[in-house]
């Protein structure tokens, strides 16, 4: 320890060692304290009692560039592939009856379904829920756009959109070529929906490119956010 540089280095080493030891103690003891050792993942719908439904979260996947092919049951129990709407722009809304923001979105989705009916847009609701609950809710709220329903199978579809540990609602927008234009996480409000849909329409009419449309959506959402918070 003749040179001062070496002394400083030694001092720094000791401090780092201390910090490392602190972290090590923290980690070792906090695991014991918190006691959450076995991840059980995400359960099914709220009153699910079936432990078989509890699975570890699948690995993270990216949001796909194109609409993945999948099929789920409709409210009559008929298996319906998403390709039933091929050639149309889709607004796929993932929701559940137990989710307050999802329920709040339903009137907006009904209005949009009516407003955009003649413009090759189909709204498809995917309820991650029990079919009987969804049937009752759809009747009460008079939902007139197509609904698909599933439990773990609907969660698997959500995962194919990159939402392996999803929050609800979330909405996927595709153009009529099946390209995923946007995925909006959280409760959708009219300004955002109209912004994204107008870009989808521009894509369908070849007035813009996918990258440009996404850029316009990003900027538009920023503007709406700024207006909302300011």
């Amino acid at each position: 320890m003749k040179t001062p540089g070496l002394r400083y280095f030694g001092a720094a080493l000791v401090v780092l060692l201390g910090i490392w030891l602190g972290f090590k103690f923290h980690a070792a003891h906090s695991v014991q304290e918190v006691g959450v050792a076995v991840p059980a993942g995400i359960a099914g719908p709220p009153d699910s009692n079936d432990p078989a439904q509890l699975e570890t979260a699948p690995p993270q996947v990216a949001i796909p560039e194109r609409l993945p092919q999948f099929s789920l049951k409709d409210l009559t129990g008929k298996q319906t592939p998403v390709s039933s709407w091929s050639g149309k722009s889709l607004m796929i809304n993932f929701w559940a009856t137990w989710c307050a923001p999802c329920r709040r979105e339903i009137p907006l989705l009904k209005t949009l379904a009516a407003d955009w009916a003649g413009r090759d847009l189909t709204i498809v609701g995917i309820a991650v829920d029990y079919p009987d609950k969804v049937r009752a809710f759809a009747g009460e709220f008079k939902i007139d756009y197509p609904l698909l329903v599933g439990e773990q199978d609907a969660m698997d579809v959500a995962a194919r959109f990159g939402m392996t540990s999803p929050g609800f609602p979330f909405t996927v927008f595709t153009d009529n070529r099946g390209e995923v234009v946007a995925l909006f996480l959280g409760e959708l409000h009219r300004p955002q929906a109209e912004l994204i849909l107008s870009e989808v329409r521009s894509l369908n009419e070849d007035r813009t490119q996918l990258a440009q449309a996404r850029q316009a959506i990003a900027e538009g959402l920023e503007r709406i956010a700024a207006k909302h918070s300011g």
Binding site: R7, G18, V36, I63, A100, G186
Partner: protein, 198 residues
Amino acid sequence: MQRTQITKSVFVLLAALACLPGLVHAKPWWMRGIDAKETDYLPPDVAFRVAARVEGNTIKVRWVIADGYYLYRQKMEVRAESPDLVVAPAQLPDGVMKTDPYLGTSQVYFQQVEAIVPYSRIDAGAHPLQIKVTYQGCTEGLCYPPMSKVVFPVTGSSAAPNNMPPYPWERIAILGGAFAFLLAGLILRKGRKLDVPA
């Protein structure tokens, strides 16, 4: 001159390393909500943290809830996971009444909540103590599906004085850090005579 350049390079490298986790976890731009505070929704395990400890004949399950997030009282459940464990229904304090025009009125918890779960064991010691907790919560504009977790309650020492901090590792980490700084100081002073009173 060369030394300054090396120092600079080290700083650039450190800065780049510091940015790396942010880049890896960066959200795609299209995952955005209506305003800035909604754009960074927390992962469910971060929004709602759960831990349990044993106190006498009860298991105390504690949820720590992130700011702006809440848990529904009626969706909280604690069940036995060990085969020899019998638990009574969880006793939960009254929550805050939350009214939503589309969901009705529910009791919710903000910040934190503790459930008291009386328990008994038929064959104590043969199996590790495990419980399964289920809970469901939301924040403004987003809800998480019900989550279930297997938790190993920590056995607290009844002899521990009441003024002990709840997490002893905090004290260990603080003392360890202080000791490391003391040691570093001693190394820097090496060669000089320490002025220690007799």
